[in-house]
Amino acid sequence: MIWDNFRIALQAIRANKLRSLLTMLGIIIGVAAVIAVVSIVQGLDHVIATQFEGVGVTYIMVLPRQDLQDPDLAGREVTLTYDDGLAIMEQAAGLELFNPVFYRGEQTRSGDRRHPTMLLGIGPSHQEVSNHWVDRGRFFSDLELHRAARVALVGRKVVEELELDEPVLGTDLIVGASSFTIIGIMEYKGEMFGQNQDDFVLIPITTARDIYGVDAVKQLRLDFKASSAESVDLAKDQIKEVLRRRHRIAEGTKDDFQVLLQEELLERIGAILGTVTSVVGGVVSIALLVGGIGIMNIMLVSVTERTREIGVRKAVGARKGDILVQFLTEAVTISLVGGLIGIVGGWGLGILGAKAIPGFPPAHVPLWAIGLAFGFAAMVGVFFGTYPAAKAAGLDPIEALRYE
């Protein structure tokens, strides 16, 4: 019986191909939009998760906080120094490694090629703390760090932009006004949020202090590696305590630094993606509503057109329920076929969309999204199909048979 109804429904859809397609359009657009957005967001989510997993949940970043709008901070010199880092390592529990990072934008040059990049002055634990390692060549030796040697590690992007010839290692590179010898190339990281992660030059922090002066290295980024995932929260509290004491921040005044945890960053990004998803969800529910009204409209037309058919069916013994189920099946079939087309279309759109945005990860459609789309399509079919189907079921057989 169900199969018979389904066959009748497919027949009716095939008999009016264009009309059925137009009817489905609302559902198709709605479902396609959901799938496209979900696939892009999920792809992004997936990549972010793997990238952050790469850095690790034990990664803690402390930044100086400068905010001229903030009365607590205005007019005071915000510092975050190597000594702050050492004090934290000494006094805070649960931390394993520490890496001070000096950072500034700088121009690089090789021959007549120029490229603006991010210059990072780092300590000996940089690789372990940020889980980012030398790919070719070697890391700075203790001696180089101690002596503030003019040596540099570069990211792939810098190599490409400056068109450095092989062998890159041993080549001289001008950064700002100083000359460095490249001793290594860092491993490839790719892009995130359209931002290249391989566009940097690393030099020993001692060298940075040498070149840019002691005052310049008073506003550092301090990277830490906690000894375990469980100790991260405690470590964060203790870092705050130590820094507030060292910076003499009075009770009730805000921090002049911020402590960022990997987990919090992930949560923040998750929240943004969630907002995007729910906004799109709102738009989509409107599309589905419009699509549902379209289905209701066309089902009402269909019921009128097939009044005689309904009369015949009743004359040969169809009950009200039989007619109801038949037309309901037809409405649901229309919306499900629409949903199916929408899923395929949205998937394609997601793949294309992800490719069109530079640096975007490939789209990924999770199974639950497909289930959800189908479920919603079916619900729309049932909801908007009920009234026309009930109208068909309620027809008087004599009137229906007499209908011209």
Binding site: G311, G317, K320, L401
Partner: protein
């Protein structure tokens, strides 16, 4: 007694006017009868037909079909009786245009909840019975008028109903085809089917064994025997 009708009345309201479509009809039909109902338009023959066919319920009176009182039944029960006891043949055939002859004939069996294989076998038998064994996969628009009405007859027969109700079955057919269809009805009656035929054509009514004439919602004559052709 297959059909037993006592003082059957049907009143319609048209605005403020009461129309007595049936005004106290008594009628008895025995199994195997071949009955023609005649009368001018407005005489109530269509109303009687709808009531016998359980498409409608009377305002008052008794209607007992095959031992079951039909008057007080609800919609679902009436549908069940239409499905099991009655086979309709309409003037305009009323076939489903997008379905094959076979699918059309299977229709009552779907609502009888028979499994597909059994439906198919019974429908093929019925089509064979009306001489369309070689046309089962044709759609109505690929069939002639006479063939369409044969499909309709097969559909009416397929559930082995107690009565065949034919409402002007030859009204849309030329005279030669009409004769063929009437011959089929004669044949079906000869093999034991009860037939109630509504017509306003004397020579069609002449095929029946018995003619009931209606006027203004009443039975005015009920003649047995007589003019049936091709039978002694």
């Amino acid at each position: 007694m297959l059909i037993s009708i006592t003082d059957l009345r049907k009143t319609y309201r048209m605005g403020s006017v009461e129309v007595r479509a049936l005004d106290g009809v008594d009628l008895e039909v025995e199994a195997g009868d071949y009955l023609a109902v005649m009368g001018p338009s407005g005489s109530g023959k269509s109303t009687l037909m709808n009531l016998i066919g359980c498409l409608d319920t009377p305002t008052s009176g008794e209607y007992v079909l095959n031992g079951q009182a039909v008057s007080g039944l609800d919609d679902g029960e009436l549908a069940h009786i239409r499905n099991r006891e009655i086979g309709f043949v309409f003037q305009t055939f009323n076939l489903l245009s997008r379905a094959t002859a076979l699918a059309n004939v299977e229709l009552p069996l779907i609502y009888a909840r028979l499994p597909a294989s059994k439906r198919r076998r019974l429908a093929l038998d019925a089509l064979e019975r009306v001489g369309l064994g070689d046309r089962v996969h044709h759609q109505p628009n690929e069939l002639s008028g006479g063939q369409r009405q044969r499909v309709a007859v097969a559909r009416a027969l397929v559930n082995r109903p107690s009565i065949l109700l034919a409402d002007e079955p030859t009204g849309n057919l030329d005279s030669r085809t009409s004769e063929e269809i009437m011959a089929l009805f004669d044949d079906l009656n000869a093999s034991g089917n009860t037939i109630v035929l509504v017509t306003h054509e004397e020579d069609i009514a002449a095929h029946a064994d018995r003619t009931v004439r209606l006027l203004d919602g009443r039975v005015v004559s009920d003649q047995r025997g007589g003019a049936r052709r091709g039978r002694s």
